[in-house]
Symmetry: C2
Subunit: 338 residues, 2 copies
C-alpha cells in the first residue's frame, strides 16, 4: 500500500511511474489495470501510473532513475533474490519503504539497506536508501501533510531523492543516520503493540465502545519513548533520530493491524487467540518485537545489558513468545532520578 | 480539578483530607459540602474528604503532614501571598500540581517551586515539590493507571511523598530535576496548541466531524518533541526529563481547553476570534507559549540562540501575539543531518 501511495507525490511531480507488483500482488495489479483503483487502499491511483505484473519486472526497470521498494519486511528476501540481481551497477538508487530490523548474529541488529548491501557482496554498487517517519499510506494518498525522513549513506543521492519526491504536502528530511532512523521507526512497531494494550485493557473493564482512557496510553507512550531512546543508540543510531520513531509511534497507535492486535491482547487474550481473530494478517510488529527481544537476550548473555531494564519490551515479548497474558508491569516503569 | 482529583489516591491510602478552595472556588466548595460531588469534574469525591472554604484555611493547615497546592499558574501569586505565610518553618512539605513556567529577567525561566522558594527570601525553610507527567484529573478520579513524576530538591521528602500517595493505579517516579520536569510538562501546554492546529486544519478542509487525519498531527508532534528536547536543557533540565513532557503532550492533545483553542486556531480563526468562542477560559497554554517565546527573544538579543530555530513555537507565538493566522511552516521542520 505504501509503495502504491508513493505514486501520488511521484505523479504530482510529473515522473513516469511504473507500479510493479510482487508475486503476491497479482490480483491487485489486475484490479489497478482494470479500474485504476488500489483495492486494499481503496484509492484511485493518479492518471499515468502504469500497473505492471511481476513477469515484466525487468522491462519495467529499463531506463528507470529510481527504484522504490514497497515490500514489507516479509518481502525482504524475495527482493534480495529477485530484484537485486536486476539492478544495474552504480546507476539506479533504491528507496525502500520497508520498516523492520533484521536480527543478526551475536546480538547485532541490521537495517535492511545494510542487509541488502551485504548480500551484494561487493559485486556491484547500489545506493540503498530508506524512508522513515510518521506517514500512513492512506493519508499520503489523500495528500495530507506528512513529515518523513529519507536515510542513506550518500548525501548527494539523498538530496536528489528529496528533489524528485518533495511536494507541498510531502515534507522530506534527510539523514545519513541509517541505523538510527531505521531502528527508531522499526521499534515503533513493537511499541505500538505496547501502547495499544491500554486500549483493550479499558475495554475489558468497561466494554467495547466505552469512553477511551488516555492516562494509561500516555504512561505506556512515555515508557516506550524511554526504551526507544536507549535502544536506538545501542543499535548504532544517533539520539536525534529517536523523534522519527516516536512521532511514527503516535500515528501508528491510531489505527491499523498493530492497534487491533494490541487491543485484543490488552483485553487479556493469549497471542494465539488474538491471531485467530485477525485472519490472514502478517504483523511486522510481532516480528520486530521478537527480533529485538532476542537480540537483547543475546546481549544480556554477554553481560552487556539487562532485558529487565526494558520492562515494556520484555512484557510484549512475554505475551508474544512466552505464553503470558496482559499484565502491564506499571511499577517497573517508575524511576528514581535522585 | 486536579487538586480535587488528588483526594482519590489520598483517601484510598486512608489519609485525612481537607479540601480547601481558593476565593474563586466558593461555589465549588459549597457544592461539595452539599452533595459530595465536584461540579466541574462531575465526580463524587471519596467519603471522608472535608470540603473547607478559604476563610478557614489556617485551621485547615493545623497539624497537616502535607500541603498539596492545586492552583493553576494564574493562582501562583495568590498562593504566594496567602498560603506561604501560613506554612510553618521546616515541617510541612508542599506538593504542587501547577504546570507552568515563570518568565524571569534576562531570559531566565523559573519553575514555580523555585519561584516560591525565592519569595520566602530565606526567612524559613519549606520543601517545595511538584507533580509532572501525563495525568488528567478526570482519569485520576476514575482510578485509571497514571504515570507521574514528583520532583523536588530533597530525595528523602520525595520518597516520603511517594509512600503517602502511591496506589495500585497511581504510579510515581521521583526526580531531583525540578528544572527539567517542570520545563518539560510546562512546554507541553504550548506544544499541545501546535499539534491540535492540525485538527482544525483538516476540519477547515473537510468540515467538522470529518475523518481525522493523523499524519499532520504526527508531523507536528515530532517537531514538538525536537523543540522540547532542545528547550529543556536550555532551561537547566536533564534530557531524561523530556519524556515526562512528551507523554503529557500525548494525553493533552486528546481533549480539554487547549485542544479546543488549537482546533479553532487551526481552522484559521484569529486568536481573538477563537477566544471569543471559548468563553470564560484562562489558558495556561497561551501564557506558557508567550512566556517561552519572550524568553527566547531575550536570548536571541544576546546572540545565544535564534527563535527561528524553533519554528513551531515561533508560529504559535505568531498566532497568539503577532496577529498571524494558522499557516504551519512545514518546510521549516525539515532537517539535513548529513
Amino acid at each position: 500500500m505504501m509503495g502504491s501511495a508513493m505514486t501520488i507525490p511521484l505523479r504530482d511531480n510529473q515522473h513516469e511511474v511504473r507500479l510493479v507488483g510482487t508475486p503476491l500482488d497479482r490480483d491487485i495489479i489486475d484490479h489497478v489495470q482494470e479500474t485504476g483503483v488500489h483495492p486494499k487502499m481503496q484509492r484511485q491511483l493518479p492518471a499515468g501510473v502504469q500497473p505492471i505484473q511481476v513477469d515484466d519486472l525487468e522491462e519495467a526497470l529499463d531506463g528507470a532513475d529510481l527504484l522504490i521498494s514497497g515490500v514489507s519486511s516479509f518481502g525482504v528476501d524475495w527482493f534480495s533474490e529477485t530484484v537485486l540481481p536486476l539492478i544495474p551497477d552504480g546507476r539506479l538508487p533504491v528507496l525502500a519503504v520497508t520498516k523492520g530490523l533484521a536480527e543478526g548474529p551475536e546480538g547485532a541488529i541490521t537495517p535492511f539497506p545494510y542487509l541488502w548491501r551485504e548480500r551484494l557482496k561487493g559485486e556491484k554498487h547500489v545506493s540503498f536508501n530508506a524512508i522513515g517517519g510518521p506517514c500512513t499510506s492512506y493519508e499520503l494518498a489523500d495528500r495530507r501533510h506528512s513529515c518523513v525522513a529519507f536515510c542513506g549513506d550518500e548525501p548527494a543521492v539523498l538530496e536528489r531523492l528529496r528533489e524528485m519526491l518533495e511536494t507541498p504536502y510531502y515534507h522530506i528530511s534527510v539523514s545519513t543516520d541509517v541505523c538510527g532512523v531505521e531502528a527508531a521507526v522499526g521499534l515503533k512497531n513493537a511499541y505500538a503493540l505496547g501502547v495499544t494494550l491500554a486500549v483493550g485493557m479499558i475495554e475489558r473493564e468497561e466494554g467495547v465502545g466505552c469512553t477511551p482512557a488516555y492516562n494509561p496510553q500516555a504512561g505506556l507512550f512515555g515508557q516506550s519513548m524511554r526504551e526507544m531512546g536507549r535502544l536506538v543508540p545501542m543499535f548504532g543510531g544517533r539520539p536525534e533520530s529517536v523523534a522519527y520513531g516516536v512521532s511514527d509511534l503516535y500515528v501508528t497507535v491510531f489505527g491499523g493491524r498493530t492497534r487491533r492486535l494490541g487491543t485484543l491482547l490488552g483485553r487479556g487474550l493469549a497471542f494465539a487467540e488474538a491471531m485467530g481473530e485477525l485472519e490472514d494478517v502478517t504483523l511486522e510488529s510481532v516480528a520486530i518485537a521478537t527480533a529485538v527481544a532476542n537480540t537483547l537476550r543475546k546481549r544480556e548473555a554477554t553481560g552487556e545489558i539487562r532485558l529487565a531494564d526494558f520492562p515494556l519490551l520484555e512484557h510484549i515479548d512475554g505475551i508474544l513468545n512466552q505464553g503470558m497474558v496482559m499484565n502491564i508491569p506499571w511499577e517497573r516503569f517508575e524511576r528514581r532520578e535522585l
